[in-house]
Symmetry: C2
Subunit: 371 residues, 2 copies
C-alpha cells in the first residue's frame, strides 16, 4: 500500500460527476462557433464573468470581466507575470522563504534571484520584509515584485492578518515595489474569519492578483485567472504566446458552476475539513515528542517540523522504503536549503488512508530518531 | 457586413456537436480521479496513445506514447522548445522568411534572433538555407535550431518535396543543427501526394516534432503535442512550468475521436476543400492583373502577391474602411518587412461569405491601384 501525501490534489470522493457531465452535454452544442475560433487573449467570457462574481462575493470588489484573463492554471499566470516583469539583467524578487515548489522552480528556471522572507504563524514576517527591502535598497537592487500567498500559504497554511497586509502594502509603496498576490487557496476555507485579499486593500495600479479553479473545482481543468489594471494587464498580455486559454474547459466549468459556485465550494470544503481533521487527529495521537505541526484553517496542507533528534536524511530513506510519500522541506525553500520540515497534503486520499498513512509516517519518524 | 479572413479558425458548419456532447457526457464520470489530480508533465494517456496512432497511420513510425507530451496547443510546444534551446547569450534560429506570426512574435519576445530563408513554391529554399548556414558558420554563430513548417507552410501553403526534405536534413547534419518541425497543418490535406514528415526521414536523436489538434478538430480545445527522443524530451520538459496539460479537454477529445479520427478528418477536409475551391474560384474570377495567388493542396490559407501597381498602404486603409479583414505580409516576415503580400484564411466563413468577401477584397485591391 502506497500512502501518497505529496501533491495538492483535490477530493475525488464527492465530485459532481453526473452534474458536470450533464452541464458538458448541455453546453457543447452552444459553443460550436466559439470552439472553432481561437480564444483570444482573455478567454471565455462566461467564466470571466463568473470569476468577477466570485471576487465580488468574496472581496466586495467590482471587477470588469475585461480586467480578467483566464490562464492555464494559476501557474501560467505566475510565469507570464514573471516573464513580463523580469526582463533585463539580474532580476530579483522577494517572496516567502518557504513557498510552492512549482513557483520556485519556474522562477529559478527563468534565472530569477529569489530573496526569501521567513514566516511565522501569521505568514510572511513583514518586519523582516522591511529589513530585506531596506538592505536591497542600500545595495541599489530593486525587486521586480513581492510574491506572496497571504491566505493559506503553501506550505505553512498561515493566514496573514489584515494589519500585517496593510504593513506589507505600505512597505511595497515605500520601496516602489509591485505586489503579486497568489490567492489560489483563498476559497478553500474551513473556519474562522478571512481577512480581505491584498488587492482589496491596495490601490496601487500595478497590483497583480492571481487565483485558480484548481483547488475549489479540479486541477484537471487547468483553469486559473489573473486580474490587474489595464496598463499592467497589457504588459502581462504582451507575454502571452499560447494563442489563448482553453474554451472547452472554461465553458464546461462555467456551465456547471454558474448557478452553484458557492454551494459547490461549501460542499467541497466540508469534505476537505473532515480530511484535515482526520489528519490533525492522527498527527496528535502519534506525535509523542517527534514533531510539531500546523493547524491550518484553510488550504490543502499540513506543515510538520521535526524534533531536534530526528534525522531527516534517514527519515526520507525509511519513508521511501515504506512507501509513505510527502514533500520534504527543501523542496519549498527558495534557496533549496534542507530543513527539519515536511508537508502533507490531505485533499485526495480517503480518511482511512489518511489515518493509516499518518500513523505509518509517525512510525517512520520515530524510527528516524538519532540513537 | 464584416468579412473576416484574418485568422486560421476552423469550420463550425459541420462540427459534430451532438457526438462530442455525448462523448463528453460519457467520459466525464470515468475521469473523476484523473480530474482531481494534477496531470503530470505528459498528460492524458488515452489522447497520447491516439496521437501515436495518428502518427503511425500517417508516417508509419511507431512512437511510444511516453515519447509524446501533450501541450496547450502547438504554441506551448513551440515556446517550450525555444525556452529549452535558446538559453544563454544571443540565441539565433533559422526559419522560413515568411512564417506564422504567433511563432515570430513569441521568438521575438524571447529575444531570439531570426534568420529568414526565402521560400519558393516548394517551401524553404534549401540552397539558400545552405548558404545561410555556411555564412553563420564563418561568423562563428551557431543556430540553436532550424524551425520549419514543411507541409502546408503558413502562410504560403507550400509543401516541401521529399528530395528537398532530405537535403534539409543533410544540411542540418553537416552544421550540427537541431531541426524543429511544426506539422500543425499536416492532416489538413485536400489532394495529391504527401511527402513523409521530416522526423520520419531523420534519425538525429535531437529532432523535435510538433503537431496539433487545432486544425483537424478545434482550436478551442487547445491541444497540441510534441515528440522527441528521451534526452531531448527531458531537456524540453525541464521548461514545462504549467503543472501539466488539460485533462478535461484531452479526455473529451479522445473520447470523441478515438473510433473515428480519420473519418472526422476526412469529413472536415471535404468541407474545407469546398471553401478553398470557392476562394480560389472567386480569386480567379476577379484577379484581372491585380494579384497572383497560391493554390494550396492543404492547410487553411491562400497567399496573395499584389501586382506592382497596387499601393499596399492604401489597400490596408480601403480594406479596413470596407471591413474586409486579412493579415498583410509584414505580419509574416521574420524581419517585420512589409511586402506586396496578404494572407486569406478560408476555414471559418461560409462559402457565400467567401464569395462575397473575396469579390469585395478584389474591388478594394483594384481601388488601391496607383493612378
Amino acid at each position: 500500500m502506497i500512502y501518497d501525501f505529496a501533491t495538492g490534489n483535490t477530493n475525488p470522493e464527492n465530485f459532481p460527476a453526473d452534474e458536470l457531465a450533464a452541464a458538458a452535454a448541455d453546453v457543447i452544442p452552444k459553443i460550436v462557433v466559439e470552439l472553432n475560433r481561437y480564444p483570444g487573449k482573455f478567454g471565455h467570457l462566461g467564466l470571466r464573468k463568473l470569476m468577477a462574481q466570485r471576487e465580488f462575493d468574496r472581496e466586495g470588489v467590482t471587477l470588469d470581466p475585461d480586467q480578467i484573463i483566464l490562464t492555464h492554471g494559476s501557474m501560467q499566470a505566475i510565469t507570464m507575470v514573471a516573464d513580463a516583469l523580469c526582463q533585463g539583467d539580474d532580476p530579483l524578487i522577494v517572496m516567502e522563504e518557504h513557498c510552492y515548489p512549482g513557483s520556485i522552480n519556474a522562477f529559478r528556471s527563468m534565472g530569477i534571484d529569489m530573496v526569501g522572507i521567513p514566516l511565522d504563524d501569521k505568514g510572511m514576517r513583514v518586519d523582516l520584509l522591511g529589513e530585506a527591502l531596506a538592505d536591497l535598497d542600500r545595495q541599489g537592487r530593486k525587486p521586480r515584485f513581492i510574491y506572496t500567498l497571504a491566505t493559506y500559504q503553501n506550505p505553512t497554511g498561515t493566514v496573514m492578518p489584515r494589519e500585517r497586509r496593510l504593513e506589507l502594502i505600505a512597505l511595497a509603496r515605500k520601496y516602489d515595489c509591485i505586489v503579486v498576490e497568489d490567492n489560489c487557496y483563498g476559497d478553500v476555507h474551513f473556519e474562522g474569519e478571512k481577512p480581505p485579499a491584498l488587492y482589496a486593500l491596495d490601490d496601487d495600479p500595478r497590483h497583480i492578483y492571481i487565483c485558480s479553479l484548481s483547488k475549489v473545482f479540479a486541477p484537471g481543468v487547468r483553469l486559473g485567472y489573473l486580474t490587474a489594471a489595464p496598463a499592467m494587464l497589457e504588459q502581462i498580455l504582451a507575454k502571452r504566446h499560447d494563442a489563448g486559454p482553453n474554451t472547452m474547459a472554461a465553458a464546461i466549468t462555467e456551465a456547471y458552476l454558474k448557478d452553484r459556485l458557492w454551494d459547490h465550494i461549501e460542499t467541497a470544503n466540508e469534505a476537505l475539513k473532515k480530511k484535515r481533521d482526520a489528519m490533525l487527529a492522527t498527527l496528535a495521537e502519534h506525535s509523542g515528542n517527534l514533531y510539531s505541526f500546523s493547524h491550518p484553517v484553510g488550504g490543502l496542507f499540513i506543515w510538520l517540523e521535526m524534533a531536534d533528534d530526528i534525522d531527516m536524511d534517514r527519515l526520507l530513506v525509511i519513508a521511501e522504503e515504506r512507501q509513505v510519500k510527502f514533500l520534504a522541506g527543501g523542496s519549498f525553500n527558495v534557496r533549496g536549503e534542507k530543513g527539519p520540515y515536511l508537508r502533507l497534503a490531505f485533499g485526495f486520499p480517503p480518511v482511512e488512508e489518511i489515518e493509516a498513512g499518518v500513523a505509518k509516517l509517525a512510525a517512520c519518524i520515530r524510527d528516524a530518531r538519532r540513537s
